[in-house]
Symmetry: C2
Subunit: 224 residues, 2 copies
């Protein structure tokens, strides 16, 4: 039987890596899609390429420009705030929010899926331990699936991690053999995770609650 | 009173030019958005820049890459078929269809609109005299507006030309003063409209039915 095709949005972070291994375990013939939008954390892109390569998968890296963008995720934007600073200032939307980002990502995935005949688009979005982005909510993905129907395609967006806690995602990834040591979550662009941004904070909490050690930090601690 | 802001998707064709003049007449403070996706008809991009410039409007040109794309609208793809050849072969979707194109365009417009605080995105989509693209249908735009609601934005997609015949669009544009001599519709990349592709055929029929002369062809005929 011919395998079902799927596109996996692969940012190189912990969630998208788990999502990739989930799709592979479900038997999909996967092609990966990564984005280069000038993000500070360019190690993300390297991480996603490595994850594709070790699985022998195609990966398309699409360069995206948002000429109007001032988000702190993008080189040239304001500095990334510490997670604690953001809570102190009680910001509704983090400065790392890139307007329309997931919508732009999914629209490209749609183009890719339609072209290669994939019936599913996997995205590791998560509505529980997330940074407060409006494009990580269940209603948003339901609306996307309605839009895909309106287009007359049979493509569905799959969000297997949407209602999972970060610790549950990490346990799932561990069962599936996702190599978290090859992933990258930190919003800052350093050689090592900063340990202080939103993304590092959420990741650390997840590993702690899962009772697991983040393999990405093992080398870091060993060096100290 | 402060003017309402809008983004106008400006391809440089006849419909988007009419849509621009419609939005301006409705009193919007307009910023234009054009796309460079490697299209053969790069005169489109020049046309949209000129239309923005003569109105003193900002225009962002976003470079988009579809590494998986084989459409004949893109340099390197198969040649553009004549309108008559396509009818002969009874193709359901024209080879000029770029999968997900309008979805990618609108998602960028969303990002732009959210960033500059625009409440409307105008797109000159047309479901009557169109080339058979699935992303020119009313249900598709309704689905987009549901998606924008799900995102929690107040941004609305406006499609004033959606159910108008091409001849009615041309009459509207004439009333609004849209300079059709500065627009470009031909799918092929020549110095002059080929007169044979889908887009030229639809344009010619529209002008004929409107009882008007296409100013773009006046110079061409004069040269003969």
């Amino acid at each position: 039987m011919k395998k079902k095709k799927a596109i996996v949005l692969l940012s190189g972070g912990l969630d998208s890596a788990t999502c990739l291994y989930y799709a592979l375990r479900r038997g999909y013939d996967v092609a990966c899609l990564a984005f280069d939008y000038g993000q500070r954390h360019r190690r993300e892109i390297e991480a996603s390429r490595r994850l594709a390569r070790i699985n022998g998968l195609d990966i398309a890296t699409v360069k995206i420009s948002f000429p109007w963008n001032r988000s702190s995720l993008v080189s040239g934007g304001p500095a990334v705030a510490d997670s604690s600073a953001r809570r102190r200032r009680n910001l509704a939307l983090p400065a790392t929010y890139v307007p329309g980002r997931n919508t732009v990502f999914i629209s490209h995935a749609l183009s890719y899926a339609e072209t290669v005949g994939a019936g599913a688009i996997f995205i590791g979005a998560n509505a529980v331990d997330f940074s407060g982005y409006p494009d990580c909510r269940p209603a948003y993905y339901r609306a996307w699936n309605s839009l895909l129907s309106a287009l007359g395609t049979k493509i569905k967006i799959k969000t297997p991690l949407l209602s999972m806690k970060k610790s549950a995602i990490i346990k799932l990834g561990a069962r599936l053999g996702a190599p978290y040591g090859l992933t990258w979550s930190c919003y800052r662009g350093g050689d090592e995770p900063c340990g202080k941004c939103d993304s590092c904070a959420i990741r650390a909490k997840g590993f702690a609650q899962a009772g697991a050690t983040d393999p990405l930090l093992v080398g870091k601690n060993a060096k100290r």
